[in-house]
């Protein structure tokens, strides 16, 4: 059973240390946060962090000595990394969504007596809608 009161293990010092045990956790956290803010995908953040870990372990240098400021380095490598698609609400997206909702609500209303739409009769729409409701 999940304990919802516990904080997510992500971004805790222990979790970050497990990703890059040879790297100063504060450097790692700053790097990851900046990459997240830049919209870099999770797999690419992990790949970049593993590259830092590998280099620091091989060279014996600190992350600061080898890569400098974590925020600046996060911005440098972000230029060649995949980004998470932007799901922001653009005006055209909102307009399309509103038109869709209006269309659905119109279909739910019974048509005026004698009106026969170009594609569907009022009966066929109503019966189709009602058939989807529980008895």
């Amino acid at each position: 059973m999940n304990d919802v009161s516990r904080p997510s293990p992500r971004m805790t010092a222990g979790y970050l240390r497990s990703l890059a045990p040879s790297v100063d956790p504060a450097w790692t956290e700053s790097f990851v946060v900046e990459q997240r803010l830049l919209g870099v995908s999770g797999p690419d953040i992990g790949d970049a962090l593993a590259t830092v870990e590998s280099h620091v372990r091989d060279s014996g240098e600190t992350a600061v000595a080898a890569f400098g400021d974590p925020v600046a380095y996060a911005r440098d490598v972000a230029g060649t990394q995949a980004r998470v698609p932007d799901l922001g609400l653009t005006p055209s997206f909102i307009l399309a969504a509103v038109c869709g909702l209006v269309g659905i609500s119109l279909c739910r209303e019974p048509s005026p007596p004698g009106w026969r739409g170009p594609w569907l009769t009022s009966q066929s729409v109503t019966s189709g809608w009602r058939s989807s409701l529980p008895c």
Partner: protein, 132 residues
């Protein structure tokens, strides 16, 4: 002339390194797949100085993005492994092209600067304010 200051760790001006590093890294990769720290070792042994990871990996990322380099993670001894870089066929052709261009460029710059190798300039003391 501040940017011509050199240190024991970095013997060349950073402006010069910025121009030469790409073709030099690609030349190292021409010898076969290798990983970042090994590339820095090769460059240091050749006399180019200690190239930092913060400079090398963004460059390698750009080479990968250009389609000149492929990457592959290989398992290490008891560690998380190493990211190996290998030239693609297009990368090998580009390395040759850049090496040719770099040779032309350095020939030109040397044709300009080599005359200055003959002798250190003697200081002429014609400027009355020079010793102030």
């Amino acid at each position: 002339m501040h940017n011509l200051d050199v240190s024991s760790e970095q013997p060349w001006p950073s402006d010069w390194l910025r121009g030469a590093l790409g073709v030099c890294v690609m030349r190292v990769l021409l010898d076969g797949p290798t990983y970042g720290y090994a590339i820095t070792g090769r460059l240091a042994d050749a006399g180019l100085g200690q190239v930092k990871g913060g400079t090398l990996y963004p460059l390698l990322g750009r080479l990968e993005q250009a389609g000149w380099v492929d990457v592959e993670w290989r398992p290490g001894d008891g560690g998380p492994g190493r990211k190996f870089y290998v030239l693609t066929e297009a990368g090998r052709e580009e390395t040759h092209r850049q090496a040719v261009r770099w040779a032309e460029f350095t020939n030109i710059t040397r044709s300009i600067t080599d005359d200055a190798l003959q002798a250190a300039p003697t200081r002429t003391n014609t400027d009355p304010g020079a010793d102030r």
